[in-house]
């Protein structure tokens, strides 16, 4: 039934299994360094639909179908789906899954949603309330730019701390049995706000939240720092990754040799001109469902701490001069 280890961390004693996973990405991600790990690359940014919002829903819907197919199950075998995205009122998930006929929880954790959904899905399985849950998120560069920044064809300059929203969707299916990677610990983040007001500098806003959650994870689990072969944050980008490492070192946590960031991994910053790197719900989701779980299942990695990070602001709060609250959730995934 799981054991509470501290204020933020639960150990899942039944170790729910990630039975299948799938990722579908856009052209830029597909041409990036991790391109070969993704299940499908869609060159058309509209994905054959008439709007970017519909395209994002389709990314999510197709990823769900692929996750179920790879797991060899049908929608009727899934008890719950935990899904979210960046759009207002989570419409990509709501619309993408409206025909799925699966009991649905819509989540908003900004770019941290993948770890949030994986946490809740695993707890649902651990608690015995579900045989299988699907945890899935999406984001789309074009729909995110439209909602959070400027029209696509507007000729403005991107500041060097800006990040590039990942187009795509990643999903995983968590269940009771199997021999895939297992969810062993979950550490739920607290909202951390260090007063950053620049919405073009998410790395600075989110780094303290990532540091806070990683510190809590090691404090409450009592695991040695070298327990994990890879600790990976969601979308801090080059700048945020650097800040996070320094903040962790100040807390006595030195993980430089096995720490990386999905936002840094997914693009070739120099060639693809993405400035500080990738961001968005799909950033951590596709790196998890594409690269990390693949490496785990081949036992090229055995223990990974997946820490998705999110900036919990809206365009309105930024215009009103409010600072940007941030959050990070950690999920310890291990091959047993």
């Amino acid at each position: 039934m799981g054991t509470r280890l501290g204020k933020q961390t639960i150990r899942l004693d039944s170790k729910p299994v990630i039975q299948s996973w799938a990722s579908i990405v856009g052209a830029k991600e597909g041409h990036g360094p991790l391109g070969r790990y993704f299940d499908e690359i869609i060159e058309d940014e509209y994905f054959g639909e008439k709007s970017f919002e519909r395209a994002e829903s389709k990314f999510l819907r197709e990823t769900l179908a692929k996750t179920l197919m790879k797991g060899g199950v049908s929608a009727g075998d899934i008890q719950y789906i935990f899904a979210g995205d960046l759009l207002n009122q989570c419409v990509a998930a709501n619309f993408g899954l409206r025909e799925s006929e699966i009991p649905f929880f819509g989540l908003y954790g900004a770019c941290s949603t993948m770890a949030e959904s994986l946490t809740l899905g695993s707890l649902m399985v651990e608690g015995g309330f579900a045989e299988r849950c699907v945890c899935i998120t999406s984001s789309h560069f074009c729909s995110a730019e439209k909602q959070f920044r400027f029209p696509l064809e507007f000729g403005n300059q991107r500041p060097p701390t800006a990040q590039w929203t990942v187009t795509g969707s990643g999903g995983v299916m968590v269940g009771k049995a199997g021999d895939g990677p297992r969810v062993v610990h979950v550490t739920t983040g607290k909202i951390v706000d260090m007063g950053i007001t620049d919405s073009n500098d998410m790395g600075s806003a989110m780094a303290p939240a990532a540091c806070d959650t990683i510190t809590a994870h090691f404090r409450e689990t009592n695991l040695p720092l070298n327990h994990y072969e890879l600790i990976v944050t969601g979308d801090l980008g080059i700048h945020g990754k650097n800040l996070c490492l320094k903040l962790l070192e100040e807390n006595g946590i030195t993980i430089g040799d096995f720490y990386d960031d999905c936002g840094v991994m997914i693009y070739d910053q120099k060639k693809q001109k993405t400035d500080c790197g990738g961001s968005g719900c799909a950033c951590s989701a596709v790196v998890l469902a594409g690269y990390i779980l693949e490496k785990l299942s081949k036992r090229e990695l055995n223990r990974v701490l997946f820490v998705a990070t999110g900036a919990l602001h809206s365009p309105i709060t930024v215009q009103q001069g409010e600072s940007i609250p941030a959050i990070a959730h950690a999920v310890g995934i291990e091959m047993v």
Binding site: E153, F154, Q157, P160, T161, M194, G195, L243
Partner: protein
Amino acid sequence: MEQKRTKEEYKKWSQQQAPRTPKARNLIMAFFVGGIICTIGQLILRALLNTGMPKDDASSLTTLFMIFIGAFLTGLNVYDDIGRVGGAGAAIPVTGFANSIVSPAMEYKKEGYVMGVGARMFLIAGPVLVYGIISSIVVGIIYYLVTR
């Protein structure tokens, strides 16, 4: 978390380590991109004057040509690339103004012609128009009082 820094200290600390805006490169590119756009405008003006058109008519028509070029390049998905390289050099000439109106019009077409294109067209240009008109009124009043 036991923060070792106050919010102000953190902001300063993180900004110190942030990647810098390449100011010299941006200034040079803005100079050249803006210069090229203005040279094209000047060429059009000269060509029109050579046809014997009065100067006022020729300069109005030149502006129209430049607005068309800005709007056309926006429609061809080219002006955003010019803007990314040229910065203010691409934003300040009237071509940039055309870009700021055409780009939201294109983006919000899916939301319909009234609440989409109509309502959002001046999303970026709106503040420029409002404060441009206000300052022209203020300058006009000053001009009137000084030259009376």
